[in-house]
Symmetry: C2
């Protein structure tokens, strides 16, 4: 499905360059459930942004679905993001002016689905994340964990082939977090590729495959984490 | 130090009222290290906002340092917030236009300290949270966990008598989270009251006293949580 070869990423800090990712090599097959596990500041979100075509590497080669991502035009990249990938952002990125229903519906707006179909999909997702009763609430009327679950619902509503989830249970208590993990597992069993980025060994433990990241370098785990 | 008696809090939802907190009774003594533990949506942040004088209850009585909070004027409330309480907000609330140093320095600006003293305090706090090397970074140049630690440094820099910390390690890996817990412990041992709001039993476990909250109702735990 995707292959990263010798990916490096640096940020400009005034006169200096700060290299965050160092020669990252990673291949992820279709249908995998994988976690990228590492401590705060290790480069997880940076790596996720590259995988999700939200940012470009400083150097290296990224091939997604057989296509070299560097050759794609912005419109093609936007299409990939909208159609193929569902994102759960670390800080959720809900639109404050939209209520829960509309935040979850947003990715469907340009999908060609009719309003009635969109409605059905959105309500179905809200039920799966336990937020049917909050459909009319705005983000500032939701708890932290409720906002996260809206973000999760939004990531799944287009039924994308890839889900990229950055710390997807950080704001959730254990029970709610496990319900969300079950949901990700179901999505994976239905054929979707799930890539979880996390510092939490309990979250990492649900994946069959874990890749560790530390100071921008990856190392393969060889199997699941035992939490 | 503070006493909440029969506190209720409702939010207006269109025509209806949604009652979030139901007859909350809680007394916290000076110098305690207490956690308020409960699941997502249980009312933790709502309760914290009341304790921190950021919101008012719908009914009930709140007495802080011998003063009925309802009798205080906005200016007096602002003074309490600025001088007595350090806040670690769930979504951090860093100012995006200020770098790390200036975000941490902000509470000191009106304290009367000289620039050199402020500088010393801020740099000291940044060292305690392991972010000296990020003093010039802006929030959008920091990882999620780094932002949280900036928020934690900012909560402590005025050396307030009370720290209110809402999910203070949600964005941190275990090791970094433990370092932050040790910092809270040190602050407590120096006489400060630490009130932690959390859904994480590991965080709750460091307190000597845990109060559970579920659907807006408190129940006393009787001792520490065993995580
Ligand atoms: N835009 C940026 N400019 C400069 N440095 C950045 C930028 N974004 C991230 N960094 C730095 O790169 C490093 C990795 O950041 P990243 O957000 O990828 O970490 P992370 O593993 O997601 O951490 P966390 O678990 O705290 O979210 C950090 O030291 C961070 O300060
Ligand atoms: N401004 C508001 N208007 C309406 N309802 C609100 C408002 N703020 C919070 N709520 C609701 O009150 C309940 C409690 O919210 P609160 O933020 O206190 O929960 P919490 O325990 O902090 O949860 P979390 O662990 O997810 O952060 C939730 O059901 C939430 O949707
Ligand atoms: Mg991150
Ligand atoms: Mg909360």
């Amino acid at each position: 499905l995707l292959s990263l070869a010798n990916i490096c990423k640096s940020y400009a800090m005034g006169e200096e360059e700060y290299e965050v990712l160092h020669d990252v090599n990673l291949t992820i097959e279709r249908g995998e459930l994988i976690s990228i596990f590492g401590p705060s500041g290790s480069g997880k979100t940076t790596l996720m942004n590259i995988i999700g075509c939200l940012d470009v590497p400083t150097s290296g080669e990224y091939v997604l679905d057989g296509t070299l991502v560097a050759d794609l035009e912005p419109r093609q990249l936007a299409r990939i993001r909208n159609k193929k990938i569902g994102f759960v952002f670390q800080n959720f990125q809900l639109l404050p002016r939209l209520n829960t229903f509309s935040n979850v519906e947003l990715p469907l707006i340009y999908s060609g689905l009719k309003a009635a179909e969109r409605r059905q999909r959105v309500l179905g997702m809200l039920e799966l994340v336990g937020l049917s009763h909050k459909a009319e609430s705005f983000p500032n009327q939701l708890s932290g964990g409720q906002q996260q679950r809206v973000a999760i619902a939004r990531s799944m509503v287009t039924e994308p082939s890839i889900i990229l989830a950055d710390e997807p249970t950080g704001a959730l208590d254990q029970k709610t977090g496990q319900q969300i993990m079950d949901l990700f597992r179901q999505f994976n069993q239905a054929g979707r590729t799930i890539i979880m980025i996390t510092h939490d060994p309990i979250v990492a433990a649900i994946a069959k495959r874990t890749v560790r990241i530390l100071d921008g370098r990856l190392s393969e785990e060889g199997g699941a984490i035992n939490a």
